[in-house]
Symmetry: C2
Subunit: 198 residues, 2 copies
Amino acid sequence: MPVAVEFWFDFASTYSYVAAMRVEEEAGRRGLTVSWHPFLLGPIFTERLGLRDSPFNAQPIRGRYMWRDLERLCLRYKLPWKQPSVFPRSSTLAARLATVAVDQPWGSQLVRRIFTANFAEDRDIADRAVLSELLRELGQEPGPLFARAEAGEARARLRDQTGEAMSRDVFGAPNFFVAGELFFGQDRLTEALDAAAT
Amino acid sequence: MPVAVEFWFDFASTYSYVAAMRVEEEAGRRGLTVSWHPFLLGPIFTERLGLRDSPFNAQPIRGRYMWRDLERLCLRYKLPWKQPSVFPRSSTLAARLATVAVDQPWGSQLVRRIFTANFAEDRDIADRAVLSELLRELGQEPGPLFARAEAGEARARLRDQTGEAMSRDVFGAPNFFVAGELFFGQDRLTEALDAAAT
């Protein structure tokens, strides 16, 4: 069995975008697989860090740098990029959908497609119509998937994942877990995969 | 003339340690030189970010991760490491000394030596006796250097550097500047040097 690196992400998170686009390909090169864990950073910011908004909004000096940094990272990794007009976007509906999708063979494709909608096309990923269009692009019928994503089971699963992240001392996004150990940030992708490969 | 990458650091900063140990060697490999800019992060935290302590102390969940991350980075880059018993240590005296030393041929050696005293030997870099010992190791007589480091000119120069960092929207440490552009964090060492080399 190939080792699975756990990738924990929030669709609202800029650095999660870069990591989400890279992780499967980079893992594949090392003979590793990825397990995808959508979660919500909002409750963690509120409950664990006492924050009411993204630090990139609360501290504009950090925000301005982050946007320039993202632009440079996307250039470096050849990823499409367009600064979203709304930040952070509500990621709850997209995360519920991903909670259902990650068990499907097209799950990681959908995750990447939702991220590019937010960070390369400036589209509102909280809008059901937008998410429906993305599903149809992948040949999936939105109706039944939304029904499952909004049912109690998927909601509970997302809440559980967020609680699990909290109990593992997650304080941001994205995160990699390798043998229970936390690697925080897109900048630790290489270190996490190297740790998993040894 | 080889291009000089500006390296802005605070001796109290953990990630500055890792970057300070790596930057000259990595720059040299690309035919670049390093210009060393000690500054004080404290006034920037207070005046620009409204912080009264290191975020790693104010948010223990981030602090615990940072210490583990540092240990891993030091292992990765083969750097000596010992978690300091006091954090952050006052870096003002060391920074004044570095302000005088960076114009000397042994300046970068002293910078690295002060960092290893703090982060690999758990020594108090605010203690004049400790700094004197480090200077003597490098064959330098402490007396005249401290006289210069504590004179008005060096104090003013350090204040000016800190003010310059503030005016360039620095919000943490370490930083690299390439053609006026900010690259924040030890994690951007490669990106900054690549930008300077092109």
